[in-house]
Subunit: 135 residues, 2 copies
DNA sequence: CTGGCTGCAAATCTTTTGCATCCTG
DNA sequence: CAGGATGCAAAAGATTTGCAGCCAG
């Protein structure tokens, strides 16, 4: 597994290991700032630049996805399998939506002269917690 | 038409008319900065604050949509009918994708405990111009 | 060893805000 | 007239960058 990274020209430093460890299985769709804060607790010398650099390096290599459902900041997802997202319009929490039933029967080519490479669905809704707690 | 706006508590100032005029039928999915720059040519006293305030007021009243396909900045769309978007992964241009065939047969309730209110598809691809001009 | 990575701080870019003044309805 | 809107400039956030020193491979 660490070999995987090395084979794609990704140097494994202690900082990067901490970031990878934090992202591993993380379903919270964290922002760069959330990742930085979570890690700096145990790793006080971590810097923003390293978090951003690492996220960018991972994104470039397809190891993580940058998701655009939140208009206010970039969020990252270590789950690179086909799936979509849902955001609560009250609290902003982001959840996963499986791509089962492969909802779309989209032509892979030809929409408005674009050659389509992929797509992603943003669902908007109200989560259980917010629904239960009134407006 | 101007009456429509007044009836929903939206005061029509010269600045707002210029913004509305610029957005009318605009298919470029402009950012706040693009709108500001386009208008300040002929309206030198226009300020960013007014552009942002107006976009926020229009969004709140459902007259325009804020689209999240571009991770770097907010883009706005005066077309509020059901449709989706496609962004060119090379040049960043954003196009419309009709919602015909109502591609999704999604349940309106029940995904991951969320009550779904709406959805939007981000398509990613390569536009005609970029495809033609090599890498 | 060496090129890529880190940490710091400053810079940049986008968006928001405070406030005195203005003007639409 | 009154309350909402404007313009300016400063503030606030998020993200990027320059660079000297460090360290994984």
């Amino acid at each position: 597994m660490m070999k995987e990274y090395r084979n794609i020209g990704f140097k494994l430093t202690p900082q990067r290991l901490a970031i990878l460890d934090h992202l591993q299985g993380n379903k919270s769709h964290p922002t760069a700032d959330e990742i930085y804060r979570a890690i700096s607790k145990r790793f006080p010398t971590m810097s923003f630049a390293t978090v951003y650099n690492t996220l960018e390096a991972l994104k470039k290599r397809g190891m993580i996805l940058e998701i655009t459902i939140d208009p206010d900041k970039k969020r990252f997802d270590p789950d690179t399998t086909a799936h979509h997202h849902i955001i609560c319009i009250r609290c902003g929490k982001v959840g996963d939506v499986p791509d089962n039933q492969s909802v779309l029967n989209m032509p892979k080519i030809g929409i408005r002269g674009f050659k389509i490479t992929k797509w992603h669905i943003d669902f908007h809704g109200i989560c259980k917690e917010c629904e239960g707690s009134g407006s």
